[in-house]
Symmetry: C2
Subunit: 355 residues, 2 copies
Amino acid sequence: MRYIGKEEIEKMAIGAALLGTGGGGDPFIGKLMALQAIEKYGPVKLLSADELDDEALVVPSAMMGAPTVMVEKVPSGNESIAAFNALEEYLGRKITATMPIEAGGVNSLLPFALAARVGLPVVDADGMGRAFPELQMVTYYLDGINASPMVLADEKDNSIVLNAVDGVWTEKIARAATMTMGGSLMNAIYPMSGKQARESSIIGSLSFEEKLGDIIMTSKQPIDDLVEATNGYILFEGKIRDVERATDGGFVRGKAVFEGMNQNKSSECTLEFQNENLICLVDGQPKCLTPDLITVLDAETGMPITTEGLKFGMRVVILGMPCDPKWRTDKGIETVGPGYFGYDFEYQTIEALNQ
Amino acid sequence: MRYIGKEEIEKMAIGAALLGTGGGGDPFIGKLMALQAIEKYGPVKLLSADELDDEALVVPSAMMGAPTVMVEKVPSGNESIAAFNALEEYLGRKITATMPIEAGGVNSLLPFALAARVGLPVVDADGMGRAFPELQMVTYYLDGINASPMVLADEKDNSIVLNAVDGVWTEKIARAATMTMGGSLMNAIYPMSGKQARESSIIGSLSFEEKLGDIIMTSKQPIDDLVEATNGYILFEGKIRDVERATDGGFVRGKAVFEGMNQNKSSECTLEFQNENLICLVDGQPKCLTPDLITVLDAETGMPITTEGLKFGMRVVILGMPCDPKWRTDKGIETVGPGYFGYDFEYQTIEALNQ
């Protein structure tokens, strides 16, 4: 157990942007909300997963919907408290701890805003080890833990307790409700025991974000250090030549084309994204495929760039990172592999693609 | 208190079609389900509203969604039981009685199917005295009774407990969830005390349906007798010349044009409908405006014809009936008057329009 204050949050926010792999929502609002709450209510306890009692009730807290809506409709913080209260009332039990559902983007920091206000600890773990767009795209789903009962709450004081048969139905129904309720809500989801959280989560994600953020903020050779810290690969170095984007039902789909520099001179790279970066091709050959992670970094500073931040002429390094082994099972690949997102590639590990 | 058996259900089904004012869903499936359940479990207790204890917990049960979907996806009956069980669990109380949310169409009979199976009585009352398409279009909404907590349940075993701030938000969110969950669900909605049910409902609707059905089945001059029983007006006698219909998000919108016969020879009548018949014009002049009731009857038999049943050349009588006085308040007209449905008419009572 240790305490997380404002300095740790600043670092985690940068690491969260990196693990957000271009999507996940800009961590900026999550960071502001966490900083504000910590300023007012004090530092938040961070528990390591092995400190959880078997019988603890652990409930991830997340924003659901389009992060672009959230920027215009900043949550007050009351929504996530309302969602937790409704779930406690429904279950007839107090929640012991919260945690992020995803390590990437805005949702890795929002639990701190909630935790500071209600005095709960945050568990140093998450259900993705990165960012993904849909509710069933978590290790809990792979392990048969139900997303339901799940609560959705909006700023108008509407709430829903959803009891769906599995994560896929939870996603479908909750997504429809979210669009109707204004496009961006807070949820309480995948209620689980301490034992389940310990066994099914990706462990240490928040500390890992902090470490990555620290490298980017302080290292003199941030990209080399990031490669080492993530067991990653530099997939490409180049300049952005072209970006195409379309927004469709809260999802951003598109691709970016890069022309090579340095070691990649006279090569070309294509990055395909759907909220998150999913496929990286160099001269038409796959170099990294979802669920392995792909993040575009500023070539000088190592700062991660979201898909919305990609601009013509930027000099970048594309970093590929192996995903957690939990994603590399058959059910994992079926849930978040290239085929699920409509790409015609068989998944191969980043290690195999970059031998 | 009296018992409702199969004969009463047959009559109520015809009366429900009449009060369905062209929409509300064909009572046929509701009738079949009620008959089946009564066949198997025996007659159902019908309580008059004044037999309710003040502290009773009364919960209407209804189908939500497009009745056209329901025809292809007949409910098993388990959905409404699941919805009631989930609501009881949520409220921590047993439900004392059920009732229809609307007197018109399929929803006036479905509560009998549920009641027979679970052994609950049905209250001889409803929230509309007719059929309307949206959840807030009930007398309970006018009286400030919340539609929430409301439960929606589907045949796949998904359920939602919705806590919305009012009937309008309940409608929006539940509608979106319904579309996602397959277009047709069962709900448990507007939980209320016996006192509220007694004071806010339209009283005696089911007995009234039965009486109307009895007239149509047995009278030698059904149309005259229906005019008398409903305090109604014959708005037009004629033949159907033209029908336009479009289906849009589960709603059927359109209009029918009739050319006059007998007393209306050389006149023309236009009927505008949105699921239900809403506006009746004769030679361009309004003769009946929502929330007053408009039903098209077969000129010979007096059998009601739904908007979907309107066919070129049919000889019909159009019957107009005054709505319950609860709808004639400012809030009532705002909720279900011509303006709400997008028509450019000020509401005037059918009595005033047919002096």
